[in-house]
Amino acid sequence: MSATALTARAEPRVRRLDVAALRGVLVREVVNFKSFWRSSTFSSTVEPTIYLLAFGFGFGSLVSTVNGLDYVQYVGTGTVATAVLFSSVFPGMFGTFVKYQFQHTYDAILAAPVDTEELVTGEALWIATRSGF
């Protein structure tokens, strides 16, 4: 009995939620990000700036306080929050859909030793990390 158990263990077992698999998914995202970080960083800085100008100077000239808070603080916090939200929601909604439906990227990844839960975890980790910065 023990002999068979030993031979069975001789081949390295692949586990669930493998670090190697997660790393593969993340490396793909990082390498891709290096090719488009300029445009995406540009849009995710310009958009909140325009918002801030419009609601800060424009609408802000009509309002001074909200619920006892300074309006500038109110608008500033909100803009930062929406910027973070959008920079994760869009890759999460459209990015993943395009990779799934049109580019068939996920087909390629799942043909490699990566399971669905590792792919999902890896993608979620990446999107969260990216929008956090």
Binding site: E11, R13, V14, A20, A21, R23, G24, V25, V27, R28, V31, N32, S35, F36, Q103, H104, T105, D107, A108, I109, L110, A111, A112, P113, V114, D115
Partner: protein, 298 residues
């Protein structure tokens, strides 16, 4: 009896009311190239997806390189390479980066990573295009890269899903040479195709699929001899004349097939009676294919 790289027994895969794979038996002995031949919709691509466990079989036993599917599919995927039918390269990345990503996905040890990329570049003959983005490559280059990408981890088994679809004859020949080289290095290959010539040239054995089942298995030459005989006769003419020939042949019990512009009478070497005028030719695997998978388009 050599070990089997792929062994399917009674594999069934249903998509709602459609049964894509209906009790398929398939053997790929190690170190050989097996051609999976069948018309569109015969279940070739679904079979490929079953082998990577991207589709889970409803019934049957599946084994890849000694790993039972779907439970041990991850271990099986780690030692096999997959060339998909649809190009799914990362188009905004360079050739080199595409390969780099796959060395990570296929867990090539860090020390061997660079060597693996160089080797794949050489296989794809893209060493001097390494810095080019995939967008800038021609269709043939992209396909070569797609194949090389499946080989970064030196797999023991390669699945090729219609590897030469939509490519010109020169590129196709180039890919054939590449596949032949792989086989000579001892890699087991399962290649689906509906190009007869491709199967005839590359495959050690051919499995002809129709409606999700294997309808014939054997060496290409044996299949031709068994199902289509040695010689065939092509009778050309106007559509009315073709119909006449076909009816006449049916009355005499001669096997025929339509070839678009002509009617082919098969097994002419073993038929009695006077044959109509036409061009004699050697029977081919295409005759077998049409005989076995039917003339009607589903």
């Amino acid at each position: 009896m050599p070990a089997l790289a792929i062994c399917l027994r009674g594999a069934v895969k249903r998509y709602g009311p459609v049964t894509a794979v209906a009790g398929l038996d398939l053997d790929v002995p190690e170190g050989t190239c097996v051609g999976l031949l069948g018309p569109n919709g015969a279940g070739k691509s679904t079979t490929m997806r079953l082998l990577t466990a991207q589709a889970i079989a409803d019934e049957g036993e599946l084994e890849v390189l000694g790993h039972k599917l779907p439970d041990d599919s991850k271990a099986a995927r780690a030692v096999m390479g997959v060339v998909p039918q649809l190009d799914n390269l990362d188009t905004t990345l360079t050739v080199e980066h595409n390969l780099l990503v796959f060395t990570y996905l296929y867990r090539v040890p860090a020390a061997e990573r660079q060597a693996a990329i160089e080797r794949a570049l050489q296989i794809a003959n893209l060493t001097d295009r390494r810095k080019s983005k995939v967008d800038e490559l021609s269709g043939g280059m992209r396909r070569r890269l797609l194949i090389a990408r499946a080989l970064v981890h030196q797999p023991r088994l390669v699945l090729l899903d219609e590897p030469t679809v939509g490519l010109d004859p020169q590129v196709r020949q180039e890919l054939w040479a590449l596949i032949d080289r792989l086989r000579s290095e001892g890699v087991s290959i399962l290649m689906s195709t509906h190009y007869i010539e491709e199967a005839e040239r590359l495959a050690d054995t051919v499995t002809v699929m129709s409606h999700g089942k294997a309808v014939a298995v054997g060496r290409p030459a044996e299949l031709v001899a068994e199902h289509a005989g040695r010689e065939a006769l092509e009778v050309y003419g106007a559509p009315a004349r073709l119909l006449e020939v076909e009816n006449e042949a049916r009355e005499r019990g001669w096997p025929t097939r339509r070839t678009g512009t002509s009617v082919t009478i098969l097994r002419t070497d073993s038929l009695n009676g006077e044959l109509p005028d036409g061009e004699r030719r050697v029977a081919t695997l295409e005759d077998v294919f049409v005989l076995l998978t039917g003339e009607e388009i589903a």
